[in-house]
Symmetry: C2
Amino acid sequence: MKIAIGQINPTIGDFEGNFDKIHKTIEKAKAAKAELCVFPELVITGYPPRDLLVKESFVKNAEYSNQQIIAHTHDIGVIFGSITRNTHESGRPLCNSAIFCYNGKSQIFNKTLLPFYDVFDEERYFEACDKVSTLTFHNTTFGISICEDLWFQTHLFTKKVYHKNPIDFFKTQKINCLININASPFSTTKFAQRKETVGQTARTLGVPIVYANLIGGNDELIFDGRSCVINPHGDIISLAKTCEEDLLYYDTEKNYVPLAISDNKNELILKALELGLSDYVKKCGFQKVLVGLSGGIDSALTVYLAQKALGANNVIAVMMPSRYSSKGSVTDSQKLARNLGITLKNFSIERLLSGYLDLFTDEFNGLAVDSTEENLQARIRSNILMALSNKYGYLLLSTGNKSELSVGYATLYGDMSGGISVLGDVFKTKVYELAHYINRNEEIIPHEIIEKAPSAELRANQKDIDSLPSYDILDRILKRYIEEGINSDEIIQQEKIDINIVKEIIEKVDRNEYKRRQASLSLRISEKAFGIGRRIPIAYKR
Amino acid sequence: MKIAIGQINPTIGDFEGNFDKIHKTIEKAKAAKAELCVFPELVITGYPPRDLLVKESFVKNAEYSNQQIIAHTHDIGVIFGSITRNTHESGRPLCNSAIFCYNGKSQIFNKTLLPFYDVFDEERYFEACDKVSTLTFHNTTFGISICEDLWFQTHLFTKKVYHKNPIDFFKTQKINCLININASPFSTTKFAQRKETVGQTARTLGVPIVYANLIGGNDELIFDGRSCVINPHGDIISLAKTCEEDLLYYDTEKNYVPLAISDNKNELILKALELGLSDYVKKCGFQKVLVGLSGGIDSALTVYLAQKALGANNVIAVMMPSRYSSKGSVTDSQKLARNLGITLKNFSIERLLSGYLDLFTDEFNGLAVDSTEENLQARIRSNILMALSNKYGYLLLSTGNKSELSVGYATLYGDMSGGISVLGDVFKTKVYELAHYINRNEEIIPHEIIEKAPSAELRANQKDIDSLPSYDILDRILKRYIEEGINSDEIIQQEKIDINIVKEIIEKVDRNEYKRRQASLSLRISEKAFGIGRRIPIAYKR
C-alpha cells in the first residue's frame, strides 16, 4: 500500500485555510496513487488551541471541518487529527482524535495518553480513550496512535505516570503497521528522543511505524516536522523535510534502506527559530519587524534571524546610542545592517536621558546613582521603539537571551519590550556558537560584535562580568537548575563551581520570576523554556 | 466532640512560618479543650504551589513539615492539608492529602476529584484517590473530603466531567460528620455557590459538614476564609471571619440555630481586594507602594484600597500632568491625597513629551498624529513611576480596570506597568459602584472624580466614549463574552445591543490578547479573570 504523509502547517482556528491545505494535499496524494494519506495531530484546529477549546463555536467549526474532510475522501483513505465530542455519559467534553475516513464513511480513534506536564494541558480538555482499537483498510491492519501514546515510558519522570500502555494492546493484535500522528514540539534534543522512542516501539511491535508530525510555529512552540517512516528494526527509512511543509510517500511493498541522518544542531536551531519567528509574525498579521541594535551580539543574532525569516525589506533596525555607547557600537551596527541589507535608523537618547535626569534632580538629590539610571536608558529606548511600532504597525522583537532572562539581567518595560523574544530560550554561550556558525563561510555578523566583551553599556565602562560570573559558568548553572531541575547542592558537586556563585545565581533566578511573568513569548527550543511550560508563583518564600 | 477549625493564612513555600501558625493554633485549640482541630487544604505548602511541586526539595520540605505536625499532636486530633507521595506503582508523583494525626500516629486521605479547569491544574501534579475511606476517632465516624470532592456536579459544565462521586461512598457508610478541607478561591458569587453545594451534600448525607477554608492572597488568587459548619438541613450554623484568620469552634453535642447571613457584595469585594493586595505586597517582601494618580476614578479607587490595605504611610501617589490634563485632574488628585492622608508627588511630563516629539520631528513628518503620541505620554509616566520604584524599592501598582484590559484600551509598557493590578478583574461600572459605596457616609473619593466623564486625557478633549460604547453597554457585552462564554449572536439576542457594537467589542477583546499576555497579575474576584485561568493563544485566526 502506498501511504502519503501530509506534513502541513495549520494555523490555529483557521478552519477554512487548514481545510484547504488538507484538501489540496489529499488531491496530490491521490494523483500520486497513494491509497492512504495521513495528517498530523489536531491538524484541523492547529496545535495547541488551548482555551479556544472551551468555546462552543470553535468546537462546532472543527466538527464542520471534520465533516468536510470526510466528504472529500473519494477513493483514498485519510487519517487526520481533530477534536471530537466525548460521547460517553461522563468525562471531559472532548477527545483528541485520529479520524479515519474513506468514501464518506469514518471511524474515530481517540488518544489514550494525555500529556499534562511542561507545556501540555491536555487533561484540561480531553477525555482519554478507554478502549484502544485497530483499523483494517484494504487488507492491511493498522494500529492507530496519537503522539504521547508512544511515550508511556517518558524519561521526564522516575515514576510511571500513566496507568496503562496503549502499545500493550497492539502487541496482542496482528497489526501490519502502526500509524502515529503528532504535534510534537521542537527542542534541540527531541529528534534523538523520537528516534529512540519510536524505534523502540517499532522493535517491540515488529512492524513499521508511519510517524506524521506538524510543522509551523504557534506562539512559543515550534513544530519541526521531520515526519518519517521507521522500519521494524527501529531505523528511519524515509524522512520528510525539517521546518518545511512536505508530502512524504511510503510504499509498504517496497524495500527501503536505513537512512544515515546527521543533524547539525546549530543549523537546526537556526531553522527552527526562523520558522517560529516567521510564523508568529505572519499568523499575527504583521509583515515587518523592528529590532533595536545595541552593537551587542544578541540584537545582532536577532536581526540576522529576522532577515532570514522575513527578508531584508521587512526588517527595520534602530540604533539608539547614549553617552555610554562605545564608538564601536555604532559602527558595528552600521556594518551589520550593511551586511544584511536592512534599513538602519538612528535616534540618540542623550537629550531624553538628560530630560529625565533633570526631572529627578531634586527628588534624587543626595542619593547614589544606581540601576535606576541604567533602567531609564533601556526604557527610553523601549519608548522610541514602541513609538515606531505604533506609528508604522511594525512588530517589535525583544532581543534578550535566556541567560539574562534567567537572572533578571534585563529591564522590564525596557529591553524586555517586544511581541516575541527570538532568543529567550537560547543561552548566551549558544548565542555565540550560533554567531560563529553563521560566519563559517563569510563574515555576516561583524567579528567586532562577536569579540567585544559583553556589556549593557548603561554606565561608563560597564561589563556584564561586573554583575555576573562568566557566561560559561553562568550557563552551566542555569542549564542544570532550570532545564534539568537539579538543586544547588548537586550543581556545586557536579559542576565544581564555587558555592557562593551557585547560590547567588539561583537566588537571582528565583527572585526574578516577576519579570518573566510580564516578558514577551520566547520561542522554545529547550526541554524547559520560560513561559507556559514553567509555572512558578511570584509571591512565595524562597 | 468539640471541633476547632484553624482558618489560617499560609505563605507558599514558607514551611517554617506555616508550621509555626499551625502549631500555635493547635495549642490554642487544645487550651480550649477541642478534641479535633481541622486545617484547610494544602495548608503546609500554601495554595497553589504550582510547579514548585516539581522540585524535589519542595516536596521533601513538605514531608518534613508533615512529620513535625504529626509529632506535635498530643491529646488532640489534627486534620491538615498537605502533599504526600503517591505510593502506587503508577500515576502522578504526588497526592493532595488530608492527613489525620493523633498522638504521633497518622492516616492519609487523598483527594478524589482534581479540578482541571479555569485556574486549576491539579492533574498536573496529583494522582486521584482510588479508594475513599472514613475515619473513626473518639467513637465518631467522619467522612474526609477535600474541596472539589463535594463539587461532582459542577455548574461549569453541562456534562458530568468526573466519573465517580466520592460522596456516593459516604452515603453507604454510617458517618456522623463530613469534614471538607478547602483552598477555595474567592469570587463574588462563590459563597452562594458554596452554601448551595455544601448544603446540598449535607442534606444528601444527613450529617453536619465541617468546612475549613484558607484565607490569604497568593498572586492573583484571594482566599476569603469563611470556614463554617453546616447542619444536616443545609443551614450554616457557625461561620468564621471573612478575609481574616480565625479559630472557629463547633461542639457536636450542642444545639445551634441557623445563621442569617446577609452579604454586602461591595463590602466583600473591597475586603477581598485589600487582602489580595496586602498579601501580595508583603509576601513579595515589599512595604510601600506607588500609584500614579491621573485624576480619574480607577487610580483613585486603587490608591484608596492601597491605603486601606497598607496604611497611609506606605502609599506614595504621583501625579504627572501634561498639556492635556484638565485643571481638575490636579486639584482632584490633591484633594484625594489629602482625604487619604498620603504623600503626593508631582512631576510634569511636558518637557519629556516635547523631547520625544522633537526626536520624531523628521521621522514622523507628514504623518497624522495618532495613538502613537498618546501612548508616548503613558510610557513617559511609566518611566517616571518605575524610576521611583527602582530608586526607593516601592512596588508600583497598575491601575487599569477589567473593561479597559478587555478591549485593550490601555498602553502596554505605559499605564499597564506595575507589579499587580488591583482592579484588573473589576469592570468599570463596578468601579463606580464601589466608589459610591466608599463614599456612603462621607466623601473620601472626591465627587468630582466620580462625576467627571471618563477620559484618558491623552489628547485635547478626549473622552472614553469617543472610542468605546458607554461603560454600561460595554460591561454587559464583556460580562457575557468573557465571564459567561456566550457568543456574539446570543449576546445580541439577549442584551438587545446593536450587532455592530457587539462585533466590534468582541473583535477588540480577541485582538488584544497580546497586551494581556504581558500584563501584571490581576487580583481575581470573578469566575473568569484574565491570567492563569484563561489561556488563549495570541497567534491564531479570529
